[in-house]
C-alpha cells in the first residue's frame, strides 16, 4: 500500500514495485481462467488514469536535469567553505572524501542523484529531484531579494508599528474613491460622473423610494440617456457571430496534441515517469563515491558560524536570514534553514498580506455562530442541532499551470485534508476555475487537465462537487486560477485543533510515505513569477493519490469516533516543517522528533528534503501514549502506514535528530507564528485613472429588436455565460446522497440531517473585471453575488471564506489592489453581518510584469432550516407569474456585454448596495420559507437576459415577458441586489407585502410558459435555438 503513489507513473507489475507489485504478480498467477476481455482491456483500462499525463514535450523535461548545469552554487562554494571552517573540529566533515558542502548539497536537492550520474540516464521523478534547490528561478528569487533590500519596508521583527513613512506610497493609500483626475478630465458620458453623483452606498436610492410597481426603475442619476442620439450615428452594432466557428485546430501539434496528451489512453510520448525499466527509488544505488553527506548538526553549526548558506536560493532575503541567526544565536543548520525558509515564505507566512488580513478579525461582525475563527486550518460555524460546519477555499494556481492534472488534483486533496483535520467529515467540494481565452491553444492544454484533475481526485474521494465557476479571460492565460473549496460537517464536540499539548504524548505521522514531491514547492513554486524557466520546475508539482486520501478520511473518522487524537494537523505546504512547528507552537511548546523514523518512499532523501517534502496524503496526530496502540490498529485496518516519530515535550523547543545528531533546535513559534511581516508600499496602478475614464458609454448598443435578439443569443453562448456542462458532467454530484442542488444552480445545497432537513447552501463567486476597475467594490461585489446566490435558494447567509488571487505584492499597484480588496471585503462582511472564517492568499499570479486582474473569490455559506423548502432556478410550470426583484440601473462598466461584444473593460463596476442586498435576501428567504416561490434565480453576469435564459433552459419551459423601460438596459445591465422569481399561483399578494415591508422594488415581468423566450413587441427565441447557442461552445473547443 505504501507504494501506491508509484503506481501512477508506472505500468502495472513493474518488478520494482515492492510489495504491491508482488501481490499483483501473485494475483495474476493464481488466475488461470482470466477473462480474455479483461486481458485485452488491460492496457487501455489503466492508461488514462495510471499515467501522469505529460502535456509537455519530453524534450522539455529531460534536458533540464539540473545536475548538468554547472552554474549551480553547490559544488562551487562547497570545497572552499568546508575546509576553511570545518577542519579543526569537524572530523566528519574533514573525513568526507567528496567535498560536497553539507548544506548546499542537501538543499540543492540531492546533489548525488542530480549531478553525479550522466545526463543520459533515465530521469525518474521519484528518484531524482531536479528542481529542488539548484536551478531555481533566479529572477524570482533575485527580485524577492531586491524587494527585501528596500529595507524601509521590511519589518523583520514583526513589529510594524514603527513604520517609517512608506516611501512609495505618497499618500494615496487611503485615497479610496480614487482618481480624482478621472473625474475632472473625463467628460465622457456617464461613467465616473454617474457615480460621483450617486450619494451611494449608505443611502441606497432603491430603498429610500417606495417600491415602484411596474415603474421603469431607471435611476435618476444615470446621465447615460444622452447616449441615444449618439447611438444613431454610432458605428453599426456588431454582427453577432451567433454560430461562432469552433476554432479549427491549427495544423500544428499544439492544441490537439495537448489534449491527446491528457486524454489518450497511451500517450504518444510516454511520460518520463512511465519509462518501463526505470529503476525504483529504492533500487537505485547512490554513487558510492559520494556516500552519505555529513550531517549539518547544531554542533557543527556552532563550530562553523561563517559558513555561507543558500538562503537566497531558498527565497529568503538577507534581513530574514539575519533574523534567524538572531533567534538562534548562531547560524541555522541546513535543516533549520529549510524550516525557516518554507515557514517564512509568502505562501506559509502571509508576510505581505497579514497586515491587511487583520481587518477580517478587527471588523468581524458579532456572530454567535462562529465556533472557530481564523487561524486554524479552517473556521467552524454552528449550523444548529448540534452540528457544525467547516469550509474553506484554497488556491493551487501555479502548480495547475505547470501540470494541470496533478496541480488541480492535489489542490482538491489539500483542501480536503484541511477540512478533515478540523475533525469534520468532508461532504462536498466546489471549484472556481479561471483560464485564458477559451479558444487559446494553451487553454486547451490547461482546462481539460484541470477539470480532469478536480474530477479525478474529488470523484475518487466520493465527494460530490456541487458548484463553482468556470471563467475565461486573457489575463489568466499564463496564470490560470484553480481555487478549490471543501466543506465538512461534525458534531460540536468533535472539533479538533492543530495543537500538541501534554508532554509525553506521542507524535504520529500517518498516511502516504514521504518522497521528493514538491520539494521547495511552497517557498519557490508557489511564489515565483512564471517565465520561460517554469517548465524546468515541473517535477516540483506534487502527485496525488486519491485512493490513499479516501482511506485517510475513513481512518480519521474512526480515530475521531474513538476519541484517539489530542491534536491533528494535515501536511500540506511545507510538509513536516509546517506540521511540527505549528503543532508544537500551539501546544505545550516543545516537541522531539526523530526524523529518521519518517517512512520514506525514496530512501536517499536528506533530512532537509524530508522537512520540505510536500508528499500528499499525510497527516500528523498527537496521541496519548495509552491510545497509541489502538490508533495504530485502526490505521492498520485501513492499510495506512503510521509511525510514531516523536513526542511532545515541555522544553519549549522543537528538537529533531537525524542519525543521532541534533539537527534542529528552535523555538517553534518563531517559525510558525513570528515570521516576518511586511508593510509593502502601495499606490493605485498607473493606468487605473484612464481605465475608469474609458466608460462603456461610448459603445454602440443594439439598435433594434433584431440586434437585441442576437445579443441575447450572443451572450448566452459566450465563454463565460455558456453552459458549463462539459466541465460539470465530469464531476460526481450525487455521491453521499445528500446533494439537493448542484451546478448550474445558484448555490450548491446539501442536506446534513435526514430527519429535520437541516442543510447548507454554498456559493463561490468572483469577478476579476469588476475588481480591476475598482478592487474595493470588486471584492464587495463578489461577496454580494455569493450572498445573493445563497439567499436565492432560500438559505440564510452565515459566514464567508475567501481566496484572494493577485499579482506580485512587490508591485505597488498590485499591493494597492490587495489592500483595497481586503478593506472592501472586510467592510462588506461587517455590513452584511457575515464573518470571514478563513481563507487563502495567492500572490505572484503574473507573467513578467503583467499581473492578472485582481480576483478575490468569495465563498458564502448559508443555512437551510429545512432543505425541502429550497427553491431552484428552473421555471417550473405554465402560468406562474415572473417578477423582477430589485432596482435596475444603467450599469455596464465591466459587464459581460461590454466584454463579449467589444472586449471592452473600462468605467466603474456596478454600484455596491449592501443594504439592498440584505433586503433582497430577506425577501428571498421568507419567500422560500413560506412557499411563495416556485423558482428563484439571481441576476448577475449578463443581466436579466441571461438569468431568464438559464431558468427557461433549466426547466424546459419558455416565458413571455414585457420589459419596463429601456429594453437594452433592462435586459443586460448588471445592477446588484436583483433576482428574478416565479411566483406560485395565489402567492402574488403575499410576495408583494414582503417586498414592500423590506423595501424591495417589484416589477412584474410576465409569465412562465410556451417553448420560447419571448419579449412582447420585440423578439421571440425558440428554446431549441437558445439551447443550441448556450450549450455548444465549450464542447466545440475542448471536446
Amino acid at each position: 500500500m505504501s507504494e501506491k503513489n508509484l503506481d501512477h507513473g508506472r505500468p502495472a507489475g513493474d518488478p520494482d514495485d515492492g510489495p504491491t507489485a508482488e501481490w499483483f504478480a501473485e494475483l495474476a498467477a493464481d488466475d488461470p481462467e482470466t477473462d480474455p476481455f479483461a486481458k485485452r482491456v488491460d492496457e487501455p483500462a489503466q492508461a488514462p488514469e495510471a499515467t501522469v499525463p505529460s502535456p509537455l514535450p519530453e524534450a522539455a523535461q529531460v534536458p533540464q536535469a539540473p545536475g548538468t548545469d554547472d552554474t549551480r552554487p553547490v559544488s562551487q562554494d562547497g570545497p572552499e567553505a568546508v575546509p576553511a571552517e570545518g577542519l579543526p573540529a569537524g572530523t566528519a566533515v574533514a573525513q568526507e572524501p567528496a567535498p560536497i558542502h553539507p548544506d548546499t548539497a542537501a538543499l540543492a536537492g540531492d546533489a548525488a542523484s542530480g549531478g553525479a550520474p550522466t545526463a543520459g540516464e533515465p530521469v525518474h521523478p521519484e528518484a531524482t529531484t531536479p528542481p529542488a534547490g539548484t536551478p531555481l528561478p533566479q529572477e524570482a528569487v533575485a527580485s524577492q531579494a531586491e524587494a527585501a533590500d528596500e529595507e524601509p519596508v521590511v519589518r523583520p521583527d514583526g513589529s510594524f508599528a514603527g513604520t517609517p513613512g512608506d516611501p512609495a506610497q505618497g499618500g494615496p493609500a487611503v485615497a479610496e474613491p480614487a482618481e480624482p483626475p478621472a473625474r475632472t478630465e473625463a467628460p465622457a458620458p456617464g461613467g465616473p460622473l454617474a457615480y460621483a453623483e450617486a450619494p451611494a452606498h449608505d443611502q441606497p436610492p432603491a430603498l429610500a423610494e417606495a417600491p415602484a410597481h411596474g415603474q421603469p426603475p431607471v435611476p435618476a442619476e444615470a446621465p447615460l440617456h444622452e447616449q441615444p442620439p449618439a447611438r444613431a450615428e454610432a458605428p453599426a452594432y456588431p454582427e453577432v457571430p451567433v454560430h461562432r466557428e469552433a476554432p479549427v485546430p491549427a495544423a500544428g501539434p499544439s492544441p490537439v496534441d495537448a489534449l491527446i496528451a491528457v486524454a489518450a489512453p497511451v500517450p504518444a510520448e510516454p511520460p518520463v515517469s512511465a519509462e518501463p525499466p526505470a529503476p525504483s527509488a529504492a533500487a537505485e544505488p547512490r554513487p558510492a563515491a559520494v556516500g552519505e553527506p555529513p550531517v549539518d548538526s547544531v554542533a557543527v553549526a556552532e563550530r562553523t558560524p561563517e559558513q555561507r548558506q543558500p538562503y537566497v536560493e531558498l527565497g529568503m532575503n538577507e534581513g530574514e536570514y539575519r533574523r534567524v541567526r538572531d533567534i538562534l544565536g548562531r547560524r541555522p543548520t541546513a535543516a533549520e534553514l529549510a524550516i525557516y525558509s518554507v515557514m517564512w515564505s509568502e505562501h506559509c507566512s502571509y508576510k505581505s498580506s497579514k497586515v491587511h488580513l487583520r481587518q477580517f478579525a478587527d471588523k468581524a461582525p458579532q456572530n454567535d455562530a462562529l465556533l472557530v475563527g481564523m487561524g486554524e486550518n479552517a473556521g467552524v460555524v454552528d449550523v444548529g442541532r448540534g452540528l457544525a460546519v467547516t469550509f474553506k477555499v484554497e488556491s493551487h494556481n501555479h502548480p495547475s499551470y505547470v501540470e494541470p492534472y496533478q496541480g488541480a488534483a492535489t489542490g482538491v486533496g489539500g483542501i480536503v485534508r484541511d477540512i478533515l483535520s478540523m475533525g469534520a467529515r468532508p461532504v462536498a467540494v466546489m471549484d472556481s476555475l479561471r483560464f485564458g481565452p477559451a479558444d487559446a491553444p494553451d487553454t486547451q492544454r490547461v482546462l481539460p487537465g484541470v477539470v480532469a484533475g478536480v474530477g479525478g481526485y474529488g470523484n475518487s474521494l466520493g465527494l460530490p462537487n456541487i458548484g463553482g465557476e468556470t471563467v475565461f479571460d486573457a489575463c489568466y492565460l499564463q496564470n490560470p486560477l484553480v481555487n478549490a473549496l471543501c466543506i465538512g460537517v461534525m458534531r460540536h464536540d468533535d472539533i479538533k485543533r492543530a495543537i500538541a499539548p501534554g508532554p509525553g504524548n506521542q507524535v504520529i505521522l500517518f498516511g502516504a510515505t514521504t518522497g521528493p514531491d514538491g520539494i521547495g514547492g511552497a517557498s519557490v513554486l508557489a511564489s515565483a513569477t512564471f517565465d520561460e524557466e517554469s517548465q524546468a520546475k515541473r517535477p516540483s508539482v506534487q502527485v496525488g493519490d486519491p485512493f490513499m486520501e479516501k482511506l485517510l478520511i475513513e481512518c480519521c473518522m474512526e480515530l475521531y469516533r474513538e476519541d484517539l487524537v489530542v491534536g491533528i494537523q494535515d501536511l500540506g505546504a511545507a510538509g513536516v516543517s509546517c506540521a511540527t512547528t505549528e503543532l508544537a507552537a500551539a501546544g505545550t511548546g516543545g516537541m522531539h522528533v526523530v526524523l529518521d523514523r519518517v517512512p520514506l518512499r525514496d530512501p536517499t532523501l536528506r533530512p532537509e528534503e524530508i522537512l520540505m517534502s510536500e508528499s500528499q496524503e499525510r497527516m500528523m496526530a498527537v496521541v496519548e501514549p495509552a491510545k497509541v496502540e489502538r490508533f495504530l490498529e485502526i490505521c492498520a485496518r485501513w492499510e495506512i502506514p503510521a509511525t510514531v516519530i516523536g513526542e511532545v515535550t515541555d522544553t519549549g523547543r522543537l528538537v529533531m535528530t537525524w542519525r543521532d545528531e541534533v539537527i534542529v533546535d528552535i523555538p517553534p513559534g518563531t517559525a510558525a507564528d513570528e515570521g516576518p511581516v511586511y508593510e509593502r508600499p502601495y499606490a493605485p496602478p498607473a493606468d487605473l485613472a484612464a481605465l475608469q475614464a474609458d466608460t462603456p458609454g461610448r459603445l454602440a448598443r443594439p439598435a433594434n429588436a433584431d440586434d437585441l435578439r442576437n445579443t441575447v443569443l450572443w451572450l448566452a453562448g459566450s465563454p463565460n455565460l455558456s453552459a458549463k456542462t462539459w466541465v460539470t458532467s465530469q464531476y460526481d454530484r450525487y455521491v453521499l446522497g445528500n446533494t439537493v442542488l448542484a451546478m448550474p444552480e445558484d448555490a450548491g445545497v446539501l442536506r446534513l440531517d435526514d430527519e429535520s432537513g437541516l442543510g447548507v447552501a454554498l456559493s463561490l463567486d468572483g469577478n476579476g473585471r469588476y475588481a480591476r476597475l475598482d478592487p474595493y467594490a470588486g471584492a464587495q461585489l463578489a461577496l454580494s453575488e455569493a450572498y445573493r446566490n445563497v439567499a436565492a435558494t432560500g438559505a440564510r447567509p452565515l459566514a464567508v471564506t475567501n481566496c484572494l488571487n493577485f499579482g506580485s505584492p512587490e508591485d505597488p499597484g498590485v499591493m494597492w489592489q490587495f489592500a483595497r480588496a481586503t478593506e472592501g471585503l472586510a467592510d462588506a462582511c461587517q455590513a452584511l453581518g457575515v464573518p470571514v472564517t478563513g481563507g487563502n492568499v495567492s500572490f505572484y499570479n503574473q507573467t513578467e510584469t503583467q499581473p492578472i486582474n485582481p480576483t478575490p473569490v468569495i465563498g458564502v455559506l448559508g443555512v437551510h432550516d429545512d432543505v425541502r423548502r429550497r427553491v431552484n432556478m428552473a421555471f417550473p410550470a405554465e402560468g406562474h407569474m415572473l417578477v423582477l426583484l430589485g432596482q435596475t440601473r444603467e450599469e455596464f462598466g465591466g459587464s459581460e456585454w461590454a466584454h463579449v461584444v467589444y472586449g471592452h473593460l473600462g468605467g466603474l463596476p456596478p454600484l455596491v448596495d449592501l443594504a439592498a442586498e440584505r433586503a433582497l435576501a430577506a425577501v428571498l428567504i421568507a419567500g422560500a420559507r413560506e412557499g411563495l416561490l416556485s423558482a428563484s434565480h439571481d441576476i448577475s453576469d449578463g443581466g436579466l437576459s441571461q438569468s431568464l435564459v438559464e431558468s427557461c433552459l433549466r426547466g424546459g419551459l419558455g416565458c413571455r415577458i414585457t420589459l419596463p423601460g429601456d429594453p437594452f438596459v433592462t435586459l443586460f445591465s448588471e445592477s446588484v441586489a436583483r433576482a428574478v422569481v416565479a411566483v406560485r399561483p395565489g402567492s402574488e399578494a403575499r410576495l408583494g407585502q414582503l417586498c414592500e415591508a423590506a423595501g424591495v422594488p417589484v416589477t412584474q415581468l410576465g409569465v412562465v410558459g410556451g417553448d420560447s423566450f419571448t419579449v412582447e413587441g420585440l423578439f421571440s427565441i425558440p428554446l431549441h435555438e437558445l439551447r443550441e447557442a448556450h450549450e455548444r461552445l465549450l464542447p466545440s473547443y475542448v471536446a
Partner: protein, 230 residues
C-alpha cells in the same frame, strides 16, 4: 414479517456504500454492513457491491477487489442463488470475478461522465427488477469513468438471446457500451450488474427521480421469497 437483510460491502475505496444502505432502508429492508477483509456474509439475504473506486481502480477497475477475502464467500453463494447486485464499481468487480461475463472499459470519451440517464428496463424478471415492467423507461444517474460494457460477439448474442440485458441506455449512450447495455444478469437472474446508480434515484429531494427504488423493493420481495430456501 421480518425485513430482508441486505449486505452492503465496503471495499477500500468504496464510495456509494452508505448511499446503497440508505436505499435499502428506504425500500423497507435492513442494511447490513459487510467488510471486504472478513470471511463472513453475516447471514444476509442479499448483497450489494456498491459504486466507488475500490483500490483506486489501480491496475484495472475491480481487479483487486475481486480478490478480497469476502469475495471467496460471496462467489459460491452467488452461484448458489444469493441475490447480488453490483452497481458501477460493483458491476466491475462482478465481471472481474466472472460472476458476470464481459468487461467494462474506460468510457468512449475518456472522461468521467455524470448525467441523469434515461434507461429502459429490458428484463423485469431478475431478483432486482421484479418491481418494473418490461420496457419501462426510467431516469437514473449514471456516473462512471470505466463504464463501457464490452463482450465478445458470442457472449453478446447469448445475453441478447437469453434476455439477460437488464437495462439499456436511451437517448444517448454515455460511455460507448456495446448494444447500449447499461446492465446485465447471470443465467439464473440472481446476479445483476448495473452501471447506472439506482441508489441515487430513491428520493425526489436528492435524485432526478425515484425510479431507482424499484431495484431495492424488488429485492425485498425476492429476498424474502428466497430467505426460506437459503
Amino acid at each position: 414479517m421480518n425485513a430482508a437483510r441486505v449486505g452492503v460491502i465496503t471495499f477500500p475505496g468504496s464510495l456509494d456504500d452508505r448511499d446503497a444502505a440508505r436505499a435499502v432502508r428506504l425500500a423497507g429492508a435492513e442494511a447490513v454492513s459487510l467488510w471486504h477483509a472478513d470471511h463472513d456474509l453475516r447471514g444476509v439475504d442479499a448483497v450489494i457491491l456498491p459504486g466507488g473506486f475500490s483500490y483506486g481502480d489501480y491496475l484495472r477497475a475491480g481487479a483487486i477487489s475481486r480478490f478480497a477475502p469476502l469475495m471467496e464467500e460471496l462467489v459460491p453463494a452467488a452461484r448458489a442463488g444469493l441475490p447480488v447486485l453490483g452497481i458501477c464499481n460493483g458491476f466491475q468487480v462482478l465481471c472481474e470475478s466472472h460472476l458476470l461475463p464481459g468487461a467494462l472499459l474506460p468510457n468512449a470519451g475518456l472522461h468521467f461522465v455524470c448525467r441523469d440517464q434515461r434507461l429502459r428496463i429490458d428484463n423485469a424478471d431478475t431478483a432486482w427488477t421484479a418491481e418494473y415492467t418490461e420496457g419501462q423507461e426510467v431516469v437514473i444517474p449514471v456516473k462512471n469513468r470505466d463504464g463501457r460494457y464490452v463482450a465478445d460477439e458470442r457472449t453478446l448474442a447469448e445475453l441478447e438471446d437469453e434476455g439477460r440485458v437488464v437495462a439499456r441506455y436511451l437517448d444517448l449512450n454515455p460511455n460507448g457500451s456495446l448494444n447500449d447495455i447499461a446492465g446485465i444478469c447471470n443465467e439464473a437472474g440472481n446476479v445483476v450488474g448495473l452501471m447506472p446508480h439506482p441508489e441515487h434515484a430513491v428520493e425526489s429531494l436528492t435524485g432526478p427521480s425515484t425510479d431507482g427504488l424499484g431495484f431495492f423493493t424488488s429485492l425485498v420481495k425476492a429476498g424474502l421469497s428466497r430467505a426460506g430456501v437459503r
